[in-house]
Point group: C2
Chain length 340, copies 2
């Protein structure tokens, strides 16, 4: 099957074609890279203009992320919407298990014909995760999904990556008892549109409501972002287990999306994100010079000297740059002479 | 005067030599760049191992930053400590006035022989500000100052830069009345060690105490960082005008510094920062290729196409990188042939 044929199958919404397409863009083989680019290019022509609502979702293990996604996803498919679930999990190999590797955690959603769940790819550096997730999101959009959920456990910089891929960002929390620390990563407050306190059921309900009030208070202390209508970011409670509040999460997302669309923020965010990823790819391309094994060793060696105070940062950087230039420009002497 | 002679004068603590040295490292002239490097190198030999406590300070206009610095600085000089005040203000040209351009705002401190106040350099891109401020900090340390205060209005990414230059970071706030929004930039919660609510005097005292309590509550919701002892980051009130609480700020900084020194966090942070600036300088050096006018135009042109959706980010990035490679390697054909 050519990339063009695969693109047509994806655009028709064929699940197996989509799975195969994602495997192709996740591959590290050089020939697969070219095929993946051709596939994305063909898909853009086949399904240009199709847009899903991309929802980023972050939450530490134990907050009930899988239960929430299952409950939220089933509510959407019951409304006739098609839902894709992707995961960004740079730590999956390290922690010994992908958050989505076991589809049995979302057993009902994974059997739903209107849902598509894709386990996270194996561990790699975050730059690689970002590119592949972006391409998987584009494939799901091209396949006509109405909602793409992009899940992350929030290790390292991953929620920043997911935020740059999402239209709306949700932070899922568990109720905290009394003075217990929630341990929210600080950077998350930058990107969250909705703070959703889960497990608002049974004994935990009062604690969930208190936690919600705490975060609502904290959010009021932060500066309002231009892309936020009155009242956003918002803190709310849900019970993923019993389904309480799940529909409100969706209606709040709907209100936020409608406002951003009307006020030009939706298109601007998508445009800014495209621009961001372009610049990021260019930067990564230029910085890739440092990834060559010999250069990486040299960099690490010099970084140790700098950290130990044996040489000043600026002087070390200058020396490294000079060495890289010499190593990478075999015609350098020639062109230097030509300039004189 | 040679850079070596200037370094010796700086190391002896001569104020005029220090001012001249900072002017040298702030200069953009190429020959000054080499002299500045020689100066820093010589100073490191003259005064190696001298360490000030570097305190980053951020706060929006109107919170009483100048009054706080004057009051805090005079308390320190009264204890016999030498204090330098530097400013990072990438917006100074835009807003029409440097936060420290007018020394009359800290009239008493600027006349104090134990204090050294340096207005912020004229506007430039943040990367340049970072390097020059780093070098100015190094000069003040080499000149034997006990405390170096690095002030920023927190425009753009400037508090991230200041945090990477500081041992301790203070956020100064004004009391908020009732539901009034403080508008704290979200990223600041990442880096603050002390949140100091100013103007806890007269009518505003109850509001200041309430604001302090609000932030103390918000801080409890965030994850504890490894470099923080029990109880940090901490929220507190001061009256810069009447001097109330200023000594407590200093004793809290002392407790924090002592704990971090004992637990290895002080040295580790300095080492991490040196490493960070080395890597940052290397990256900036590699990315400088994009600053050439022709490349910048091309980048901007392609970024517009990407933002408008006319081309995919990855494809555009690939094309740009290929063009840069061709343009920057006059010996490329030759070396390509040699490799075959």
């Amino acid at each position: 099957m050519t990339p063009e044929e695969l693109a047509r199958s994806v655009a028709r919404g064929e699940r197996r074609a989509l799975a195969r397409a994602i495997t192709l863009v996740e591959s590290r083989r050089a020939d697969h890279g070219a095929q993946g680019a051709a596939l994305l290019d063909a898909l853009a022509r086949e399904s240009g203009g199709r847009q899903a609502i991309r929802i980023g979702l972050s939450g530490t293990p134990g907050v009930g992320k899988s239960t929430f996604i299952e409950s939220f996803g089933l509510m959407l498919t019951a409304q006739g919407l098609r839902v894709a679930v992707l995961a960004v999990d740079p730590s999956s190999a390290r922690t010994g298990g992908s958050i989505l590797g076991d589809k049995t955690r979302m057993e009902r959603l994974s059997r739903d014909p209107k849902a598509f769940i894709r386990p996270s790819p194996s561990q790699t550096h975050l730059g690689g995760v970002a590119r592949r997730t972006r391409e998987a999101v584009a494939l799901c959009e091209g396949a006509g999904f109405d909602v793409v959920l992009i899940e992350t456990v929030g290790v390292g910089q991953s929620e920043t990556v997911v935020a740059e891929l999402s239209d709306v960002f949700l932070l899922l929390l568990a109720p905290a008892g009394g003075d217990e620390l929630q341990g929210v990563k600080r950077g998350i407050m930058e990107v969250a549109d909705l703070i959703v306190v889960n497990k608002a059921d049974g004994d935990l309900k009062p604690a969930a409501q208190r936690t919600r009030a705490d975060y609502a208070g904290a959010l009021r202390l932060l500066r309002r972002r231009p892309q936020d209508p009155e009242g956003f970011p918002k803190a709310m409670t849900v019970s993923a287990l019993e389904g309480g509040g799940i529909d409100t999460v969706w209606s709040e997302i709907g209100a936020l999306v409608a406002w951003r669309r009307e006020n030009g923020h939706w298109d601007r965010r998508r445009a800014d994100q495209a621009r961001h990823w372009f610049l990021e790819d260019v930067r990564q391309g230029l910085l890739a010079e440092l990834d060559a094994p010999a250069n990486r060793d040299l960099l690490e060696h010099m970084a140790r000297d700098v950290a130990a105070g044996r040489v000043a940062p600026a002087a070390a950087a200058q020396e490294l740059l000079t060495r890289l230039e010499r190593a990478s420009a075999p015609g350098a002497e020639l062109s230097g002479a030509a300039r004189v």
